[in-house]
Symmetry: C2
């Protein structure tokens, strides 16, 4: 049997290698359009930034090694330009010309190429992409010669490229059409990443698009939709990818929205043609919708399963995808898994959200740092999505959430997770346990939340109760807030009652912990009370500089009439 | 309602705090025998080792802060010496004498004290334990004055104490009755920890016990079962703990093997008495057996659930425990979750095991290091237990396994896990995915393993095929092995056939990856073939110095008759 695999990176190479391991007697030919197979595409930005200094290190495999070790016939610089599915014949163009190649079974893993939006001037030689080793070598060379870089697109690869260029000493700007960097992140998470980019000295121009690239003799100029002009010696185009499917569509392979449609075994609509990787649509594990998920992990794992299926070993199916992704930005890590607000809204799934800011490990152990965490969960308790930003331990928590979502766990199960604890690694109540506790509290009504976007409604119709210390409040508080430090609340409940005057009470503190304690007292005392999810930390991240404009310093403007001790009601007595 | 909580650390304090949050109007009294509540017992070794310099940092809460924030009546130095469950009255001894205290509901969280085996001389003032802040202060003072330390017991706390003392410059020995340090670890994992201890300059005396402590004027001498004599200025006793249950047993609370028996809500056999923490028996989440699990995480989480139940909020139950645990030893991390071989054997659960040594993150990204991983799984594919030792990323993988076990996932599910990948954090095929792939290969027969303990049988009755390179083999190989580098195997299959002469072929390489490729070729060529799980790395860790005595250097002794190229059989043709 002759198996031909088109595309020798990630999904394609995983498929070829697995096919050999389960079928020693098949002929397996891998056709790769480019000059390298199985290269480390996720490592390219680190090569540009000189964390990886040797381009050879990016070449995980070579055709020679693959022949020796796996008996694969790997042909580089071999572009498939046509496919006749009836005669099962490919037309391949390689340096020696065009020729035909028959197949019994065909796995296509063509990947995706950089999306090129219709921006005038984008054909400048100073505009580069970052998809292959030669792209990276070219970008590095240009970066060495240049002083100013503009990165178009603030997705994962765009930010990695921007940091790499900045670390090389270039004046670096990153332009993003969406309102914030890393569009799949929630805005209150993306803001933290944005601040880190700014700290690195990167100019972040979000909510704007490039409208033209003007070519100059010494440099180009990127013109943005708001009129900003950015001079650039090098421009990185990283605004997304488009599956390379034209050959396959021409061969009759069914596609939707430009991506190949496959079933749970990787079968396309055409017999004997299978597909994996960035060019295919994955089924979202949370919402059930189909979309291309251009990530290395799912591609690699799908390759293995499809190879099994091609070889008649049917048992496993290509898993649904959670789109789990992670990026290092300066000293921060940002990661997400499962659905975000937009995906949940689009799918009409009802959900709750909690924000928390736990420490990555025991606070008394040196080096503890905060993890900013968002958890979305269904009204049935099902874990739907999580995002985290922090210095340490972000990857671990997102992986734990990814397993929880894959396993269909509910938030009550998160409480029970028996995670590895000792002071250098975590806390007796791990951030994931804590998130589960908060979420179960929300579901059973123990905790009622208000969220940053509710601020206008809250300031209009409720008493805002700030339970931070006087010192914290003096540094900046919302206008109209009543300040009662949480440790004084039991003795000053009557003051709250007077100030509220029948209105709901909306509590807040720095991170949501003290205000939760206050909320519990208020709720049990009969108030219509709710607690700001994530406290000032989340409010600030959600509203950005807009919040600072709002804040007042000094003592809060709202003072209640002092109450004689004899009038005080101690709740619970 | 008056709730009395006995024991103000971990489980007890979690229960008291949760009780307040759900019941503002209860009277909640916490009685703590010692001078501190809610202190960081897991942080004590790091205080001894000066990573935590301020003892205050270990005091997470104070009675005053708990009163202010939660309205708890916390009474330290208050020892409960008797309980009359009929009148619901405790007898409490505090600095002012004995008095009685009534309760409506009682949660007991007495914890456990250091086990004191009947060793003559153990009453020396130089023998200390490490259970409380004052223990840690005393140990640190003694360590500052002394030069030689002996730690009795190489469990988690024993090793943390030994490292702390060694880091302070003391000549440090650790004595362990079990055959290896960290007895819950598999021997092939524990060996790696042992080597790190030795690298730190700690003398490891395992498989031996202390039989006497001789008191001297300047120092004590610990005499071991093998006659070894260890002079010591300070001796740390850390051979285990025993639940403090005598008061409760006297009150009629049912216990088994010295630990309080509780149901899934924390109820004891006596009405209105509940129990949590180290003094109770947990249900093992894998084997279903009951045993005390003295860990902070489960205690904290149980406290919360029991408090809910006491307050009539019944919904969640105390989860089964996996005994997930982790320890930092020098530059290594060792961790485990779920069942080990002993627990599985004792429970009569049939299982398979795979060993692997993947990198913590992409190999081409700087700083990659190996994670040594063991996975036990049932014949039905269920994930039963995992252990890992390595420099980085161990905690993350063990947490992922812990969630998988909690969720009842099977090894095929591990293949599908969509974990966060980018080069600084992992690989497109994460170590956990890899473990799942290997395990599914074992289940469906694609991979057949032999294990280190089978070595004698293998050398007696099989052809040992070492597929490492000639250079690796020359550095040390098993006697009688045939060396065919894996890349040459396809062309030299006939040599294997001749050398095997009808015997099974048992393949090996350095880590099990290349020998897996060879195994697949051999199996498909009709050989009775199996692959050494974890390769030489695991063999060395399992057999220890015994292996080095066995190994031969230079060219392997077994040479096959050279075969003419024309005679070669290319498998698959």
């Amino acid at each position: 049997m002759r198996l031909v695999v088109v595309g020798g990176v990630a999904g394609g190479m995983s498929a070829a290698a697995r096919a050999r391991r389960v079928s020693e007697d098949s002929e397996i030919i891998v056709l790769e359009r480019g000059p390298e197979v199985s290269f480390a595409n996720c490592g390219l930005p680190y090569f540009v930034g000189d964390e990886i200094t040797d381009a050879e290190a990016l070449l995980v495999q070579t055709p020679e090694k693959l022949r020796e070790s796996l008996g694969l016939d790997v042909r580089i610089n071999s572009d498939v330009v046509a496919c006749d599915p009836v005669s099962r014949t490919l037309t391949v163009v390689d340096p020696e010309g065009a020729h035909e190649l028959g197949y019994d079974e065909l796995i296509v893993s063509p990947g995706a190429s950089a999306l090129r939006p219709p921006i005038p001037g984008l054909d400048s030689t100073r505009v580069l992409t970052l998809r292959t080793v030669s792209d990276a070598v070219a970008l590095k060379a240009r970066a060495q010669a240049g002083a100013r870089a503009v990165v178009l697109g603030a997705g994962f690869i765009g930010l990695e490229a921007a940091e790499a260029l900045r670390m090389r000493g270039l004046e670096t700007s990153v332009v993003e059409l969406a309102p914030h960097v890393l569009p799949p992140l929630e805005p209150e998470m993306a803001r933290l990443v944005r601040e880190e980019l700014v700290r690195l000295g990167i100019d972040v121009l979000d909510g704007r698009s490039a409208t033209e690239v003007e070519h100059g003799p010494d440099h180009d100029t990127v013109v943005l939709s708001d009129g900003t002009r950015l001079d650039a010696d090098v421009i990185v185009l990283s605004v997304g990818v488009r599956p390379d499917v034209s050959v396959w569509e021409a061969a009759g392979v069914g596609s939707v929205a430009g991506a190949i449609e496959v079933d749970e075994l990787g079968r396309t609509s055409v017999p004997h043609i299978w597909a994996v990787g960035d060019a295919t649509r994955s089924v979202d594990g949370v919402t059930g919708t189909r979309r291309p998920i251009a990530l290395a992990g799912p591609a690699n794992r799908a390759g293995r399963i499809v190879a099994d299926a091609v070889m008649g070993r049917v048992g496993h199916t290509v898993p649904t995808a959670l789109g789990t992704a992670i990026v290092r930005v300066g000293e921060l890590t940002a990661a997400l898994t499962g659905a975000n607000r937009r995906a949940l809204a689009e799918s009409g799934i009802e959900y709750h959200t909690v924000h928390l800011h736990p420490l990555n490990h025991a606070g008394y152990f040196p080096g503890a740092s905060q993890i900013h965490l968002v958890l979305h969960f269904g009204t049935d308790g099902k874990v739907l999505g999580a995002q985290a930003v922090g210095r340490d331990g972000v990857d671990k928590r997102i992986d734990v959430f990814a397993v929880a979502i894959r396993a269909g766990l509910k938030v009550a199960d998160l409480v029970d997770l028996d995670l590895a604890y000792s002071p250098p690694y975590g806390s007796a109540k791990d951030p994931v346990n804590m998130a589960g506790m908060m979420a179960t509290n929300v579901l059973d009504g123990t905790l009622r939340l208000w969220h940053a976007p509710d601020l206008d409604v809250v300031t209009d119709g409720a008493l805002l109760l700030d339970v931070r210390s006087r010192e914290e409040v003096a540094d900046g508080h919302l206008p109209g807030a009543l300040n009662i430090p949480h440790v004084e609340l039991r003795d000053r409940m009557e003051e709250v009652r007077r100030a509220a005057a029948g209105r709901p009470v909306r509590v807040m503190c720095a991170s949501g912990v003290r205000s939760y304690l206050a909320h519990r007292q208020l709720a049990q005392a009969g108030f219509d009370s709710a607690n700001l999810s994530g406290g000032m930390l989340t409010l600030r991240a959600a509203l950005g500089p807009g919040l600072d404009d709002l804040l007042e310093t000094g003592s809060p403007s709202l003072h209640t009439t002092p109450i004689e001790p004899s009038q005080r009601v101690t709740v619970g007595d």
